[in-house]
């Protein structure tokens, strides 16, 4: 810890920093818009997460302590502090989807992709996680992949057909 060298960056390239600057400027560096800012930043980072170096960069840019930013990232299910995957499959875990069979839906996804919730496939393509209700009760049980909602997933075939769209 007494090293005088500053840490090198993995993900935070000059290009990404510019993108982050654009996002922060778009929100006029308003700390009350932090959730929106972090969501937008997460979208431009491969594997859809916010690594520590990026959070530190935002911390410095917006003059918000890193621990406060981490508090926000860890609070919201939509934000992740660990690498996820190219396609993030969010499985609704609220009452309506539970009643209409999200357990079978989860088993179907697990058996097709070979992953459980909180895991990514070995090729880094898919990630599965539970999420609170995203308002698709009318088409439940439902999943959301990279922001797009897919519903009526009551059979393994229907699940496979959806997953096939994300190659």
């Amino acid at each position: 810890m007494n090293s005088t060298e500053t840490k090198g960056f993995g993900i935070l390239t000059k290009d990404l920093a510019t993108k982050i600057d654009t996002i922060i400027n778009y929100y006029q560096s308003d700390s009350t818009k932090l959730v929106g800012i972090l969501l937008d930043i997460q979208d431009v980072i491969p594997k859809q997460y916010i690594p520590r170096e990026v959070a530190s960069y935002v911390s410095e840019r917006m003059n918000i302590p890193l621990s406060k930013i981490y508090d926000v990232i860890s609070f919201y299910a939509a934000l992740s502090d660990v690498p996820r995957a190219d396609y993030v499959i969010q499985l609704c875990d609220s009452v309506v989807c539970k009643v209409t069979g999200n357990t079978d839906l989860r088993d179907a996804i697990s058996s097709i992709l070979g992953i459980n919730e909180g895991e990514a496939t070995a090729d880094g393509k898919y990630w599965l996680e539970y999420t609170p209700c995203f308002g698709a009760c009318d088409v439940s049980p439902a999943i959301r992949i990279n922001g797009k909602v897919h519903g009526y997933l009551t059979s393994k075939d229907s699940v496979k057909a959806v997953l096939d769209q994300y190659q």
């Binding site: 810890m1 840490k7 530190s56």
Partner: protein, 582 residues
Amino acid sequence: MKMINIKIDNIDVTVPEGTTILEAAKKVNVNIPHLCYHPDQAIKANCRICVVDVAGSKKLTPSCSSYVFEGMEVQTNTKKVRDMQKGILELILANHDQDCLKCLRNGNCELQSLCQRFNISKTNLEDTVDALPLDNTNPSLVRDSAKCIKCNRCVEACQKGQEVYALTHSHRSVHYNITPAYEAPLEQTFCVFCGQCSAVCPVGAIVEKDDTAKVWDAIHDPKKHVVVQVAPAVRVALGDVFNLPKGSIVTGKMVSALRRLGFDKIFDTNFTADLTILEEGNELIKRVTQGGTLPMITSCSPGWINFVEGRYDHLLDHLSTCKSPQQMFGALSKSYYSDITGIDPADIYTVSIMPCTAKKFEAQRPEMKTNGVQEVDVVLTTRELGRMIQSAGIDFIDLEEGQFDNPFGIGTGAGAIFGATGGVMEAALRTAYEVITGKALPDLNFTEVRGLEGIKESTIDIDGLELKVAVAHGLGNAKKLLKQIEKGESPYAFIEVMACPGGCIGGGGQPIKSTMDVKAQRIDAIYQIDENLPLRKSHTNPEVIELYEKFLGEPLGHKSHELLHTHYKSRGMKYNFKELME
């Protein structure tokens, strides 16, 4: 001020408007159970154990966050209240590591005493201790989330008082936790190891790293010559451990206890505090007269040094190059003391008793070496010394009054007041005035720099040379002065900063329950020690004069430079975003 009349458990009480039920109840000797409430902190109201029954309200009311209103009737011990409080306790206990015998806070734990109060020995709920890995890789503090009750006192201390922001609450629901960002170990954060978190923790979730076993081993090792130094702030706080009145001065008993524990020599850090004044005072004079970096800022507080080396590494030149009194003592113990006693520095084992957890970190800095050995081998906090004395079965209260040993046994009043915020400044001014003018000070008491106000200012006229000075305690206050310096607007020549609120008497290693009231009592005791000493100016300390004559030569001389001064460097914690931000 408008006064409000209420009844608590049918007892009439009149309190000012804006008083909480919990505080009003204290006035009539009703102690409502509480965990997250802390008298020096903002209202949190997240543990809910302090609920009471307010007439007219269907729901129970949290007493720590509810203000009194005229005619309010409160019951604190109804069946409904007690059942609720027991239920909450059992829930907390079910998610708390119950291996009490292994815990440093055993017998001094707020959760444990509440369980005792409600006769709960074991929860009948299933234990599910959901914990993060133990964080014990730094020299100062141990964080054990298996014991954390999520009261947020530590977060409040870290963020609001100290503005360090190392700790935060994170995640939610069952995953809710108290942690640094990205669950990093403390040494990879901006944590300064001040230990204020450990001083407010109601349980054993954040504690000092216990080094008492190392000291016992050294004492029991016949080859080791074990010397100990005691910081100025310890003698007005150690009595708390033995239930003496707050602010009791226990210098003599403390020395006797240390002798009985088996230390070979017992020395006083007040001596090296005096030495610090001579070095630092001369450094200040040199900077003022020869155009050095100003304002110069004191360097005695290791939490403060960590703070500057972490977040404000562009201002390192403002820090005095003087080592802290602890390290000056350490350096002398492995050089001068070794010379005059003929004991090999490698066989001298130097222990410090400090009010501070950051001192543990400071002692282990790689640059703190003299004659090839670590200057201070082990640092114990006041709490650890208390445990050693208890463990040895020494009946502290009835001990005889002991005396410090020579050659580091005399400390002046100026050294003594290092323990209180403003003390270093006052000590420095006493010496600077007399050394520069050659005249005796008409009044030794610089009352403007005393007291618990966050930032204190004063101007002293030294024979026409006007010196503007400031004193800050608590890092939040220090930050304000740093921001001034950053902007080039600092009007001061000399600034004293102590990392902990109240100065060292409020250090993170002091006995638990060091509230602001207690700190004020300790400060009074410190100035009483000063008043009662025959010598009150550092440059009149005969042992310090002798040390310069026999060994060091002169302040800022070659030997001083080698032994008593240091250099600072960036902790390298910051990502360097400069290139990216262009």
